[in-house]
Symmetry: C2
Subunit: 148 residues, 2 copies
DNA sequence: CTTTTTGCAAAGCGTTTGCATTGAA
DNA sequence: TTCAATGCAAACGCTTTGCAAAAAG
């Protein structure tokens, strides 16, 4: 684990600083998939003077080099849906469009027993990512249709 | 559709204003699951003087009364994950913890043919929501473990 | 020694709030 | 005529940026 960290840093020309080591440890050891403010509070125990932007920059770096991932259901902007029945979504990574997918167009999901014993599942969503038909036939897509 | 809107407004003591009608139309008719700024740009065509906070307030109201939904993968804060292998997540709605779920603990998803013909699926994530074992045995959970 | 990283402060930007005015019922 | 909604401006909170000092390699 420590080796993995050093390797990633070396490979990506990142200097290994005590702050980075500590932030990495916190993310790895946390069972809660911490938010930034949680990481910040935690690092401060060891480095009371650390500034919050160091945490921001460090986590961004970690995501960039792939040693840490962002939990999937975060996007920069809220988006709205007038179709209020329960359904899934397909996200096109090229044009940023989101397509509604009715339940029956995706195979039914069967949750296994172990899982059902430990969690009460109220709802689930399948989020598919890929490229829509239109974008597959285009060379490139430069325009951002969302207007930002 | 128009009737649905009037009914929802009446039931929830919302006044039917031209701005609200227009915003609702935009969300309903958009195929793109618009972001706020896209809605804003769109309403401005009809109401050049509309202020952005009206759009904010209106969309919030709509979500509140349930006539519009927020696309699921939006959360207020980024959260981080040191487990970089591909896996699913279970979100506890009580304690806000996110649990890692290996692929094999959830039944395999079979995508049907229609779907595969129209979309190139690069990845999919199953996001389960519910209540974890610990929270099921508790009466209430007042503490927010994420630190915000 | 050179180059990156840190901490600080200020700026940026999406979102929310207070308030007087306007408009729906 | 009453009470909610709008538009405006200011405030708010999370995130980013510029820069000099400090630390890593």
């Amino acid at each position: 684990m420590k080796k993995k960290f050093y390797d990633f840093c070396k490979k990506n020309n990142l200097k290994v600083t005590p702050q980075r080591i500590e932030i990495y440890k916190i993310v790895i050891n946390s069972k809660e998939h911490p938010s930034l403010s949680m990481v910040y509070k935690s690092v401060k125990k060891k480095f009371p003077n650390i500034s919050i932007d160091t945490v921001y920059r460090t986590l961004r770096k970690f995501v960039e080099i792939g040693i840490v991932k962002e939990v999937e259901n975060y996007e920069d902007f809220r988006r709205y849906d007038g179709f209020t029945e329960n359904h899934h979504h397909f996200h096109c990574i090229k044009c940023y469009k989101i397509f509604d997918i009715p339940y029956n167009e995706v195979g039914k999901l069967s949750i296994n027993d172990f899982f059902n014993k430990n969690f009460e599942i109220l709802d689930y969503k399948i989020i598919l990512k890929g490229i829509c038909k239109k974008c597959k036939s285009k060379k490139e897509n430069t325009k951002n249709p969302l207007g930002f």
